[in-house]
Every structure is written in structure tokens, then in C-alpha cells.
């Protein structure tokens, strides 16, 4: 018997939530088709902002519902968010390397 089960803690951690997975899948497919369409009709300067925004919405849907982050406790959330903060710092640190290209 696991330690958690022995103390009834395991049961609390395994309250599984099952959002409508198939419905979310169709939203993801729709958003994918929308981003393909937008990339074809929107001006190339503006297209990245739209399609990467759509990608972020899709990533959030997967993280929240398929990876169940919407239902996780603060421990798992912390382990998911801390790398994202470091990732944001990396992004910020890389910016000076690419900005000069815009001036050339």
C-alpha cells in the first residue's frame, strides 16, 4: 500500500476532472484551420502576431484541459510556472541579439 493511500491523501489527489476532451479537440482543429487561413490572407508583416496568438490560445487549451493544469494544486502549478518565468527571462535576454537586424 502506498503511503498516501494509507492516510487517505492519495484519494484527494486523484480527484480526476474530465472536461469535454472531444469538444476541445474540435476547437483546436478549428483554430489550426483559422491560423492557416489567416496566414494566407493577412499581410505578411501582421500575420505572425495573429498566428502566434492563436498558437498561444491552443497551447493554453492543451495545458489547462489536456494536461489538467486547471485542476492541479499549487505544487504542480509552481513546477509548471517557474520554468515559464525562466523561459520569459531567456526570451528577454535574447532580444538584444536580434534587434540589430531590424536596423540593418
Amino acid at each position: 500500500m502506498k503511503v498516501g493511500e494509507r492516510y487517505g491523501i492519495e484519494a484527494r489527489n486523484h480527484e480526476h476532472h474530465h472536461p469535454p476532451y472531444v469538444g476541445i479537440y474540435f476547437i483546436l482543429v478549428f483554430l489550426t484551420l483559422a491560423s492557416i487561413l489567416i496566414s494566407q490572407i493577412v499581410h505578411r508583416q501582421k500575420a505572425p502576431a495573429y498566428v502566434f496568438s492563436i498558437s498561444t490560445v491552443k497551447a493554453l487549451l492543451i495545458a489547462l484541459f489536456y494536461m489538467h493544469l486547471k485542476y492541479e494544486g499549487r505544487w504542480v502549478l509552481a513546477f509548471a510556472i517557474i520554468p515559464l518565468i525562466i523561459f520569459a527571462l531567456v526570451l528577454f535576454a535574447l532580444m538584444p541579439d536580434v534587434v540589430p537586424y531590424q536596423k540593418m
Binding site: 503511503v3 505572425p48 492543451i62 495545458a63 520554468p83 523561459f87
Partner: protein
Amino acid sequence: MDEQVRVLDELEKEEYESVPVPFQKLGFWVFLGGEIIILGGIVASAILFRLSYPGWFKSSEHTNVVIASINTMVLLTGSLTAVLAHKFATIREWGKVQLFLGLTALCGFTFIGIKFIEYSREIHHGFVPSAGIFWMFYYGITGLHGLHVLAGSLIILGVMLFLRKKKLVEAVENAGLYWHFVDIVWLYIFPLFYLT
């Protein structure tokens, strides 16, 4: 002897209550955290480069949007089957778990097969990694991602075999988490190299 067991039980209880999450899951999230920083950093550097490099669009016109769109659907379908496998694992329907894990692995191998066809077409047209900075980013990032898809597929297969010996919901959940992470990375690679 009874006293020793009681003391050990108390220690175990205190340890568990201090971190009220299954240790396998927490460990797996630590691993995923490392992956987010590594893969995320690489993809982010390419996105930043794309936003400031005017020649990117001309090169990305040579990649095949249709093939990549099919591959995107394949990965999304794999995510759906992976999460359905987890859903059925929580209600102990192990036959369906095996089925959906098998479908997820199939999606992974299909993705890799399609990617190989895509690579061979591009190389045939002279778009090798040394053809330009876009193609260096392209082969480096999609290659690294492809390795992750392969690893994810093998993990899913491994869990399928493991379930014959022991039925563990956590194993199905963690394998699915890895798959979803690989899927999320592709959601940024797809527009980066094919749509913008």
C-alpha cells in the same frame, strides 16, 4: 518492533503531507520544466530571429504547408487519444487504455514517417541545412522536435507493455503529459516555419 513501525509511519506521513502531490507526478513536472526551458529557449530564439529577419518569409515559402498541416492534425489527434487513455485509466477500463495508447503511438510514428517524406522532398530540391540560416533553424528545430516525438511514442509503447504487468494510472498520465508537451512545442514550430 511495533514502535519502530509506528515511528516510521509517522515520518512517512509527515513527509507525504509536506508535499501533497504524488512524487512521480512532481518528478515528471521537474523533468518537463527542464524541457520547457531547453526546447522553449531554442524555439523562442528562432521566433525572435524570424521577427527581425526580412528574408525569412521567402525561405518559408518553400516549405510544404499541406504536409505540415496534416502533421499538425496527427499530433492533435495523438493528444486527444493520449488524454482519453488517461480518462479510461482513471475508471479502470484497461482495454480502452491500451487501445488509445496504441493509437497515440501510431500518431507519433505517422508524424515521423510524414516528416521523413517532407525532408526527402526538401533535400531533393536542394534545401539542405547549409542552404541558408532559415534551413539551419528548420532542420535543427524540427529534427530536435522529431526526436522528442520519437521518444514520446516509445514512452507510450513502453507504458502499454508495462500495463500488462501493473496497472498504474500515474504511468498513463505522465506519458500523456510528455505527449502534450511535445504537441505544444509543435504549435509554435508550425507557424514559425510554415505560416509566416
